[in-house]
């Protein structure tokens, strides 16, 4: 293996002016990615950022790597081709809730199901920003937007639930207000062999300001967020005085020392479990009953689509008598006239 140059953040800053609105959560995600890339041991020329359409999908222009700004909803499909064409590449999909949950919903579930080895960053601001404020598939029920002046009448998706339904092997959640955690989570996503989905709760300052405020606000976040880590107790609250327990098929939030709950009752996070039932329960936790989970919720290691494809090719190559086109076109029934 050749030595990989020690990169810094600057190596990944492109010469393009970043054109997001002042105060957009995307800036923080961009900085976190640029801080992540020097630490994942991948050569700069092996990085490819692929996106669809939307504010977040402008991302590839701002990272000085290979990049492909695709069409609406199709980032996952384009990225699949990039990865399969050259499995050595580290492929990053940058997409929003409209791009991935609506027009690109089909590609979203299938790339997770196949477990292609890519990193998928889903910017969830619960609104269409680039088209100026229409509701998206993740907009809360009843919210008034440009296209729902009397409130939406659609039940929203939770991306994590979809990911579990699609048998995704990696799901994490981060918030745009915590770059340090975001970077830790991105590094975990990069390390995972398989489709790594990271949902970033991101604020759209213009069209959906403060949509995640309850979760991210400095005052409430200790009680409303739980940062879970593999092998550790699921604790939250300002003094880690609260925790999660499982009762029947439900997760319950408890205070240690109250109602007879002790530290021993608190769940220990197993992100690596093959069964995704617990990950599903964690991914769907929502306010006000339960804190919202951030961190790596699931990281189950299994074979990837791209590895199996390469394996099948080398396996067949070892067995087949057909070594080139000349062999093939002269094989089977041929006739001398």
């Amino acid at each position: 293996m050749t030595e990989i140059k020690q990169y810094t953040r600057k190596d990944f800053v492109s010469d393009q002016e970043v054109k997001w609105c002042a105060g957009c959560g995307d800036f923080s995600i961009l900085a976190s990615i640029q801080n992540t890339l020097p630490e994942i041991g991948v050569k700069k020329e092996n990085l490819v950022f692929v996106s669809g359409i939307g504010c977040s999908s402008r991302f590839p222009y701002y990272v000085d790597t290979y990049g492909f700004h695709g069409i609406h909803g199709r980032a996952a499909a384009i990225a699949s081709g990039v990865k399969l064409a050259n499995p050595e590449l580290s492929v990053w999909i940058m997409s929003g809730d409209g791009d991935s949950m609506a027009i690109g919903g089909n590609h979203f579930i299938h790339i997770l199901r196949r477990n292609l080895d890519v990193n998928y960053i889903l910017f969830n601001n619960q609104i269409y920003g680039l088209t100026k404020g229409q509701y998206s598939p993740t907009t809360p029920l009843g919210q008034k937007t440009k296209t729902s002046p009397f409130g939406t009448i659609e039940h929203p998706f939770k991306p994590g639930e979809l990911a579990m339904g699609a048998e995704g092997t990696f799901f994490a959640r981060a918030v745009d207000t915590n770059p340090k955690e975001m970077k830790e989570i991105f590094i975990e996503a990069a390390k995972h062999k398989g489709a790594s989905l990271v949902e970033v709760l991101q604020n759209c300052v213009i069209f959906n300001n403060n949509t995640h405020k309850e979760i991210t606000d400095k005052v409430t976040r200790a009680d409303n967020q739980i940062y879970i880590k593999h092998g550790e107790k699921m604790l939250f609250g300002k003094d880690k005085e609260k925790g999660l327990v499982l009762e029947g098929l439900k997760i319950k939030s408890v205070t240690i020392g109250e109602d007879g709950y002790t530290m021993d009752d608190i769940l220990v996070h197993d992100a690596k479990a093959e069964d995704n039932t617990m990950a599903f329960l964690l991914a769907r936790m929502s306010l006000p009953e339960l804190p919202v989970a951030v961190g790596v919720i699931r990281a189950y290691k299994t074979h990837t689509y791209n590895d199996l494809m390469e394996l099948q090719i080398s396996d067949v190559q070892g067995k087949s008598k057909i070594k080139n086109m000349t062999d093939l076109i002269n094989s089977g029934n041929t006739f001398e006239l």
Partner: protein
Amino acid sequence: MATNNKKIEVERIVIKFAGDSGDGMQLSGTQFSDVAAILGNDLATFPDFPSEIRAPQGTIAGVSGFQVHIGHADINTSGDMADVLVALNPAALEYNLKHVKPGGTIVLDSDSFNAKAFKKAKLTTNRLEDGSLDGFIVVEAPVTTQCRLTLKETGLDSKTIDKTRNQFITGLLAYMFNRDIKLSEDFITSKFAKKPSIADANIKILRAGYNFADTIEVLSTTYIVLPNENKSGKYRNIMGNTATAWGLMAAAEKSGLNFFLGSYPITPATEILAELSKHKSLNIKTFQAEDEIAGINSAIGAAYAGNLAVTTTSGPGLSLKSEALGLACITELPLVIVNVMRGGPSTGLPTKTEQTDLLQSLWGRNGEAPIPVIAASSPADCFDYAYAATKMAVEHMTPVILHTDSYLGNGSGLWKIPNMDDMPSITPKIAKANADYLPFERDENFVRTWAWPGTEGNEHRVGGLEKLDGKGSVSHDPENHALMTTLRAAKIDKIADSYPAQHVYGDQEGDLLIVGWGSSHGVLYDAFSEVKENSDAKIGFTNFNYIFPLPNDTADIFKKYKRILVCELNSGQFANHLRYSLPEFDYEKYNKIEAQPFMVSELKDKFNEILEAK
């Protein structure tokens, strides 16, 4: 072999096999044509099957057919009317009777002509008794009974036994065409290599059919089709869809590029995906995507990453891929889109043939998005045009649409096996590492350089937004957009400089130029040749494979004729394209919109009508 019959040498003969889907008619047809090839005959085949896998048994909707045209003469089509019709049930006879030549031979399973079968086929009359078959030579063979009797001792169940009926017919035809029965036996042995008991049963039935024909007196005449002497060398019988797959693979090998197919199953293109997926040993990567859109977008991603990328589809799928075609156009990435045309619009007639996607392929995109369009013209030359499409795509950094159709894709013909060393070179322009790379810097043909991820120092971004000339950053500048639009068009126009000369058969100037495109080459050629032989008029025929851009010599050809007749299987799409591209000429049209190939006879009538009217 019987001695009491008379043997006649024939130049060419058309045989139609027809029965229920499931009766093995496709297999019998393939077997008959493979043996013809071994005997040195030229040939063309065309299956005609319902879109349902198992339409209700015995109904007319469930009739599956396979037509074979073999000859001592050169064979350019699968034939008009059948000289011999094999009909395994009343529905098959009913559906095909009008396609049998007067005086032709009809071989049928007389056991299947009963009240129950008439009811299934919704027939009110028995064709065997109502005089409909007067003027034909009718061979009534009790096929079902004979098969059951022959295999009585084997212990096979009657369902399995009935499945051997097609071999009884094959045996009968082997006698009728004076063929060595051993060749048909070899076919069975190899087909059922893993099921020796089934192979034995089929061979018994094959011989029973042969012996039956030898015994009955109705076959007073048998036929001999001598080998074709115009063709020499090593050949194989190849289906168009297979030839397309192989042409793409051959181009990958020649260019040294890794191959990627992103595709989604669709009739009648699926066989290309299936064929390519067999060839892992040649490092062929196939990705069966979740939909047509993912098929083309994954291929675009693979093209960006440096693979020879292909997507395959049929009309409805091409519609779904439209937006992504624009993306391939503006990112100027090489991509081959194979469109196996079928009857439309919408789901239309999925298993039938038409040339109705031409205007969609030329114009079916938002913005100004010129994409070269080429078309194959025989099952065998699908190989050549798939190869040509690939060469064009990678050497000119553009998506290319290759049209074949159901007739070519499912039809077969003899293909002369090429020497791979003789195939033209394919030379992509690939950026070397640290090349001070500018994504939209162009050469003298307006072609940009391809830089692959993984190459140091050439990091760059492409995408669907308009890009600045040269540097390739996002640009909304009005003058730059005008320049880029012009450059993209100029790049495509320039491709015509690389074409071979457009070939004109017959008179190089004169009264009438017959014009076709793509798959009607063979049938137009036969009709043209026959009319020309019996006419004093000066007639030429030219068939276009390069549709857009048109060959540079098109106008020079057209101006040498008084009249131009454009024949196509649609309402006049190529004629419209010619009117738009070369408005200085008058174009007459001859169109067929029955989702069936042209017949030589109808074309001859039309040509003669025009020549007489002058």
